[in-house]
């Protein structure tokens, strides 16, 4: 049989139990391998885009802006400027003579039209090549319009998605520290790395409110410029999806002395642990008590509601391939909660530490992959006889084509999967795919017997 992976990719795949743990990651995608990864621009765009009252202007040819127009489900409770797609739509003449003038004019036009609280200007590949001075244009417009105008150094080819997260953090760090922090409670946090997909941050904020914790800034789900400007007034940064915003938390710790906690809101276990960790941080007995009550109430209710799903799904096999590996940890645990078996887990951008942890929490025989591609994924899905695959839009047709169930767990999902309610939604999502009667017709489960039934 033909090898599943290209020779140069073999060290990015590990099968638990077969050899001492070793995996290579954080390297550039191999040319021609059809990586599922995106680019620097993508990393920046996804992190900053939920800031709903900012103008997000993509400086480049039309593609980068149009492929990211309202693609994610980040909700806003107020303004929805983030759902529009703004571009300088560079043309040949701009590329030859430089795009600075067009950028200046476009920026001025859009700020006048929409009166945003700030503007982010994203670099794309071509801007990195023609050498437009974004910094200078932004400074000029900022002075003229009196709002922060921040360049995002997101030239697509200058690294991978993680470099884009860093560029986004750098951009936000320029906002932080410019707002008034008076009146902020000592029991206060910033929520980092939740993007309010399907309203998830509202559920999380509700938990914090019940605990008696004030949220200063959402970074960035349902985010607001003015909140972020005063984020340095919070006592603690609570970081989920650490890949994208840990960098920002580290910068804030260094400059403002704000400590941070890494959490995950997925699954009952991690969600509860997140709330307890925060309560313990504040060393307030009453808060701890309120948290205990909250967690117990929610968990009890949830366990009961989960039971029918667990009963049906127990023993089914799951595969996970997601962007960040931190989410993969939670998913492994979430599947365990409903007695499902994880047989493949991988991510686009995990680090060695991440993969070590994954190998520690998974069962022997589990395939662990970094920066995988459709051909590898399909061969593992088949080999492992997977019942449900958890991934993003690019993974969905791969699963469906082979007659395998699927659960959307990336930033385009429209179902809330975080929090206690999210765990129930997750079980329902998995259930509604795995238990569908349509699988009986797919070739995997039935030979073609067209015309043989009477």
């Amino acid at each position: 049989m033909e090898a599943v992976a290209l020779k140069d990719r073999e060290n990015q795949i590990h099968i638990k139990g077969e050899a001492p743990f070793e995996i290579v990651c954080d390297k550039d995608s191999l040319a021609g391998a059809v990586s599922q990864r995106a680019c620097v621009f993508c990393g920046s765009r996804v992190v900053l885009y939920p800031i709903a009252d900012a103008l997000h202007l993509v400086h480049g040819p039309i593609g980068c802006a149009v492929y990211t127009w309202d693609i994610r489900g980040a909700l806003s409770s107020g303004p929805e400027l983030h759902r529009l797609s703004f571009s300088t739509d560079l043309q040949e003449m701009d590329v030859i003579f430089g795009g600075e003038k067009k950028l200046y004019n476009a920026l001025t036009e859009l700020i006048d039209r929409h009166s945003p609280r700030a503007a982010f200007v994203y670099s794309t590949c071509i801007v990195g090549i023609i050498g437009d001075d974004l910094e200078a244009i932004c400074r000029r417009v900022e002075a003229e319009k009196g709002i922060p105008v921040i360049p995002v150094k997101s030239e697509g080819f200058k690294g991978n998605k993680r470099a884009g997260y860093k560029a986004a953090c750098d951009a936000m760090f320029r906002l932080i520290g410019t707002g008034d922090t008076s009146g902020i409670s000592p029991y206060s946090i910033n929520i980092l790395g939740d993007f309010n997909l399907a309203g998830e941050i509202w559920m999380i904020r509700d938990y914090y409110q019940r605990m008696g914790v004030e949220v200063v800034a959402n970074i960035t789900g349902d985010g607001r410029v003015d909140d972020i400007r005063r984020a340095h007034g919070a006592s603690l940064n609570v970081v989920q999806c650490s890949g994208s915003t840990m960098e920002l938390a580290d910068m804030m710790e260094k400059k403002y002395g704000i400590p941070s906690l890494r959490v995950s809101y997925f699954g009952i276990e991690d969600m509860s642990e997140a709330l307890y960790d925060i309560a313990r941080f504040f060393k307030d007995e009453k808060m701890l008590e309120r948290t205990r009550k909250l967690v117990q109430g929610e968990a009890q209710k949830l366990i009961l509601e989960l039971e029918p799903y667990r009963k049906t799904l127990a023993g089914k096999k799951a595969a996970i391939y997601v962007g960040g590996s931190f989410k993969a940890f939670s998913l492994v645990k979430a599947f365990r909660l409903i007695d499902m078996q994880v047989v493949l887990v991988g991510s686009q951008t995990g680090t060695v530490e991440d993969y070590k942890e994954l190998e520690a929490i998974t069962d022997p025989g589990t395939v662990i992959v970094d920066d995988s591609n459709p051909l590898e994924l399909t061969s593992f899905l088949k080999e492992k006889e997977v019942d449900v695959f958890v991934g993003g839009v690019k993974e969905r047709p791969i699963a469906y084509k082979l007659g395998i169930g699927f659960c959307d767990h990336n930033h385009e999902r429209k179902e809330a999967l975080a929090g206690f309610d999210g765990m129930l939604n997750f079980a329902r999502e998995v259930y509604s795919s795995v238990m569908s009667p349509v699988w009986r017709f797919v070739p995997r489960h039935s030979s073609k017997d067209l015309g043989n039934k009477v």
């Binding site: 040319a31 021609g32 059809v34 476009a106 090549i129």
Partner: protein, 453 residues
């Protein structure tokens, strides 16, 4: 016609896609082909995601995954490495290489790099063919990319030789259902047809047991090579005149007669297409289509009152807009605004050609439009419906009028690839959909809620 076109510097919610995306789609319609983008990794991933959301089919687009040092020193070595990897892993028959803004700007000469690569690999077994197309994304739209890829394919692959009896059909970018329908039509006329591209199977395939590295279907390479020997070419697109299309190249280089006609949407434009087929085949219109046309006319009559005098906004790819405008005009709906992100400079003229003898008044026609501008104009036009791809949904929602989904992309419904637009059968589906949408709107808005029409 063009009354004070809005003219903004910035683009908001574009009504076009970038050029390499069109090229990738065209390459997907060739048998055994893998599209390959010479650029940074993000382009391939974004386009895959965008295309998947319409077709719900896997689409693998390879990338040379350029990083900073390649941008400085040239992407040639990575392009070659990528080709070797794709060839080894996918075993394609053809790799279709499209450039991106990055590689067009740093000045990579893809044609030369490919020549070098061919030299380097001379004598190696099982290497695919290569075709390359220049697709600077800062110029033109996905449609220039699509037509450009088709043109490059025939230019680089079609061979000469003794004249055969085949007819080349270059339909442009239509749905998988449309490609299937066209093949059927050609076969029913008894015509040997070479259709390029052919996305009927590659982007609307069956459920599978074994994952296909490269999905079956698409125009066979052997047929593409034979296109230079065909009897004639039929090319859809009234806005393509004077463009370097596949049909023009086949005419210029191989002296294959080229018939450029409008996209056959609605009775009038389909009659022209069928008339041409009748001439080329020497056969009468097959019974099946004569019946379909008869039923369609009957349906037009049954439904005419529900649609008459309604005002529509049409947007999208230029040639589809022309076809849809022609169809709307003949059923009594007035297109009041026809808009596209494309800039052929021929849109208004093409709409006039297709609708001039029916419409008492030509619609406003604007090229280079985005949805902000379309929305702005829509306010004063008071349309009853919108016809276009799913990106017009925010506008339809704002105006609380129906959106009739046609073209690409359809990101908010299933089955975009199965919408039939072409021929009498396509017109039948469009007519029923539009008429029912207008009836439903009236019914829902009515206080009475009649259960008869």
């Amino acid at each position: 016609m063009s009354k004070n076109p809005p003219n903004y510097i910035s683009t908001t919610n574009a009504c076009k896609l970038c050029r390499p995306l069109g090229a990738c789609l065209a390459f997907k319609g060739i048998e055994g082909a893998v599209p390959y983008l010479h650029g940074s990794q993000g382009c391939a991933t974004y386009m895959r995601r965008y295309i998947i959301s319409h077709y719900n089919e896997p689409i693998d687009i390879a990338s040379s995954s350029l990083s900073e040092k390649h941008a400085v020193y040239g992407g040639g070595p990575n392009l070659k490495l990528g080709l070797t990897n794709v060839a080894a892993k996918y075993r394609p028959k053809l790799i279709g290489i499209a450039a991106t803004c990055l590689t067009e700007t740093i000045g990579d000469d893809v044609r030369m790099i490919l020549q070098e690569y061919r030299r380097d690999t001379e004598g190696s077994q099982g290497l695919p063919d290569f075709v390359n197309v220049s697709t600077p994304s800062y110029s033109g739209t996905h449609m220039e990319g699509f037509h450009g890829a088709v043109a490059s394919v025939v230019e680089q692959m079609a061979e000469g030789g003794p004249r055969g009896g085949e007819i080349n059909l270059l339909p442009g970018f239509v749905s998988s259902a449309d490609y299937r329908y066209l093949k059927e039509v050609m076969a029913d006329f008894g015509l040997e047809c070479i259709m390029l591209p052919d996305l009927s199977e590659t982007m609307d395939g069956e459920a599978l047991l074994q994952y296909e590295k490269v999905p079956v279907g698409g125009t066979p390479l052997k047929s593409i090579k034979a296109m230079g020997r065909s009897r004639a070419t039929i090319e859809f697109g009234r806005t393509l005149k004077e463009t370097r299309t596949g049909g023009c190249i086949l005419k210029g280089v191989r002296d294959v007669d080229n018939f450029q006609i409008g996209m056959p949407v609605g009775i009038e434009e389909t009659d022209r297409f069928f008339g041409l087929l009748r001439k080329l085949s020497g056969r009468d219109v097959p019974h099946k289509y004569a019946k379909a046309r008869g039923r369609l006319v009957d349906a037009y009559v049954d439904g005419h009152k529900y649609v008459f005098g309604k005002k529509a906004i049409v947007y999208g790819e230029e040639d589809l807009v022309v076809g849809v405008a022609a169809f709307l005009a003949e059923i009594g709906i007035r297109p009041v605004l026809c808009a596209s992100g494309g800039t052929s400079r021929r849109l208004a003229e093409a709409i006039l050609e297709a609708t001039g003898d029916i419409l008492p008044e030509q619609p406003e026609v604007h090229e280079g439009m985005d949805f902000f501008e379309i929305s702005e104009l829509a306010e004063s036009l008071a349309p009853d419906l919108i016809v276009g791809h799913s990106k017009g949904y925010p506008l339809a929602r704002k105006l609380a009028i129906p959106l009739i989904r046609v073209g690409f992309p359809i990101h908010d419904r299933v089955g975009g690839q199965r919408i039939l637009h072409l021929g009498y059968h396509g017109a039948q589906q469009l007519f029923d959909t539009i008429t029912n949408a207008l009836i439903a709107k009236k019914q829902d808005d009515s206080e009475v809620g009649y259960s008869y029409m």
